[in-house]
């Protein structure tokens, strides 16, 4: 089983506060890995390190065997690391369709084409339609992103990530801030991606029950440290996790 991404002792601190503390993990190719931990544990910060939004104070990061510690976010996206954001991060005054098409277009070789009308690129339109169908957003294609309900924005976020066709998907709390009725639809989408079987998925979630059924491996962060890793079953029965996290009312 190949390792797609690996961190060695990555640490990042903000002023005196250590948000991620010497974390070493291996993300296995085509597996479903979940990261759990209470609020403020450093999960999003850890993703920022993987995707290049932040640089570690210490330690190094490898993607497919190559050291990417110093690579920018743009470069890492091109290498195959895609991520969604916990706080919805889309293009508010563009339509849902345009949002996704921008992601599709970024994978094509026409990034700087300025003399051709975008309608000429039928393949972009088709791909965009395909992805919108996958996340059940076809009906909203022509709405402005700013007019979507919260749950729909989350789906749009995932659609843009899928369009990047990266091997690795980093999903940061895709159900954050959703109403209960909206959650199952997102779970369906994630199941659908998992079913396709050609991607490696890393999911941050602090709702334990949601990820137990899906995950191959679970990593537990607590105060910036990796305190446990294992199968969902091992994690549920892990004493350190229970006292630190589950027992703590989380």
């Amino acid at each position: 089983m190949g390792v797609i991404m690996e961190t060695k002792d990555v640490t990042v601190s903000f002023g005196g506060h250590v948000a991620v503390d010497q974390v070493s993990v291996q993300i296995l190719e085509r597996k479903f890995t979940s990261i759990i931990g209470p609020n403020g544990a450093g999960k999003t910060t850890f993703f920022n390190l993987l995707s290049g939004q932040m640089k570690p104070t210490n330690g190094s990061i490898y993607f497919k065997g190559a050291d990417v510690t110093k690579r920018s976010a743009t470069e890492r996206t091109r290498l195959g690391i895609g991520r969604s954001f916990q706080i919805t991060n889309v293009f508010p005054n563009l339509t849902v369709f345009e949002n996704v098409r921008l992601a599709v277009q970024s994978q094509a070789k026409v990034r700087y084409q300025m003399f051709a009308h975008f309608n000429q690129y039928k393949q972009f339109q088709e791909k965009t339609d395909e992805i919108l169908a996958l996340v059940f957003l076809q009906d909203k294609a022509n709405s402005l992103a700013m007019n979507l309900a919260h749950g729909e924005k989350r789906k749009l976020e995932i659609a843009m990530l899928l369009a990047l066709e990266t091997e690795l998907l980093l999903l940061d709390e895709p159900t954050a801030g959703m109403s209960l009725e909206e959650v199952p639809a997102i779970i369906d989408v994630i199941h659908e991606i998992k079913q396709q079987g050609n991607r490696t998925i890393v999911l941050i979630e602090h709702k334990m029950d949601m990820i137990m059924g899906m995950s191959d491996e679970v990593l537990v962060l607590y105060h910036g440290e990796l305190i446990a890793k294992g199968t969902p079953n091992e994690i549920v029965h892990n004493e350190i996790v229970q006292s630190a996290y589950l027992g703590g009312g989380g």
């Binding site: 995707s51 743009t74 970024s106 300025m114 003399f115 009308h117 309608n119």
Partner: protein
């Protein structure tokens, strides 16, 4: 938006173009023709500005640099090399080249900065150009400027009108295509959310630099035509007033569109003309700048998104 829609609007614009070509036969009065020529020129200038402000979200206070470069190189070439089409082409070409070079340089040095730094730096830089033009008297004639003769073929006002109209139309359709291209959509993405654009894998700085080069080149062409229309250049082409004018035109008409800046240019030019001619009626109109300010405030109150933007959102609201 679908193709049918676009074709319809293209037809519409082509009809307008045709009307504009016929216009000088209907409106033969020189002073009116002059105003329309100014509207074409400032329409071009304002469109180029909106490519930065409205499409890419870059705030520049130094856009006159490119306008001024085009105006000076044209004036100097016609003055020194003689009033021929050859020297006009040379002057315009050098203006465009300089504009491209300066915008490339400024872009590479500063577009990585936060937007307010960029705004301040461009303002300072335009001040630098203004001072340089004042001091380099042997070349520029300083504050007083200099007059020059036009090549015979465009001394006929109708011909100058047609020349300006041709540039206006070509630039309009060119920018329209650019803003509807894959490249143009990335510019809008940058305006909307720069970080997100980066994380989609776009190299944002390249896009900004390319946009500012295109915008600078177009602005320099406006400057070329401006010099031709006045047969005179002075340091006014680098003045901050002009920056404010183009900002107003873009905002009044509606940012993020091409028609908006054109309409804005028309309104501002007409307001200039009309309000200053009212001075004969009553002395208060001599203070036309006050009225102009009042007019601007009224527009901002009643058309918060600019004229085109407000109409669009009204139409969109009705369709819901």
């Amino acid at each position: 938006m679908n193709i049918q829609n676009l074709e319809k609007s293209t037809w519409f614009y082509l009809c307008i173009t045709l009307l504009l070509f016929i216009l000088p036969m209907v409106i033969t009065e020189r002073s009116l023709q002059f105003i329309i020529i100014q509207i074409f020129i400032f329409g071009i200038f304002a469109m180029s500005y909106d490519l930065l402000l409205g499409y890419t979200g870059i705030i520049s206070f130094g856009h006159v640099i490119f306008f001024g470069l085009g105006a000076y190189t044209t004036g100097i070439a016609l003055d020194r090399l003689g009033a021929t089409i050859g020297s006009l082409v040379i002057g315009a070409f050098i203006g465009v080249l300089l504009a491209a070079f300066v915008s490339l340089l400024v872009g590479m040095l500063t577009l990585r900065l936060k937007s307010h730094f960029y705004a301040m730096l461009t303002l300072a830089l335009s001040g630098l150009f203004l001072v340089a033009a004042e001091k380099w008297r042997p070349m520029t004639g300083g504050n007083d400027g200099f007059t020059f003769r036009l090549p015979d073929i465009i001394r006929e006002p109708n011909h100058l009108y047609i020349l300006c109209l041709i540039f206006f139309v070509l630039i309009f359709f060119g920018l329209r295509r650019l803003t509807n291209s894959p490249f143009g959509k990335v510019l809008m993405a940058i305006r909307e959310n720069e970080n997100r654009t980066t994380s989609l894998g776009y190299k944002v700085v390249y896009y900004k630099v390319i946009a500012s080069i295109v915008s600078g080149v177009v602005a320099s062409l406006a400057g070329v035509l401006y010099a031709l229309s006045l047969r005179f250049v002075n340091t006014g082409v680098f003045a901050t007033d002009l920056t404010i004018d183009v900002l107003l035109m873009t905002i009044i008409g509606g940012v993020g569109t091409l028609i908006g800046p054109i309409i804005g240019a028309g309104l501002v030019e007409l307001a200039h003309h009309w309000l200053s001619s009212l001075a004969d009626v009553h002395w208060i109109f001599e203070r036309w700048i006050i009225l102009y300010g009042t007019l601007y405030i009224l527009v901002v109150i009643f058309f918060p998104l600019g004229i085109i933007g407000t109409i669009r959102s009204k139409l969109a609201g009705r369709n819901k």
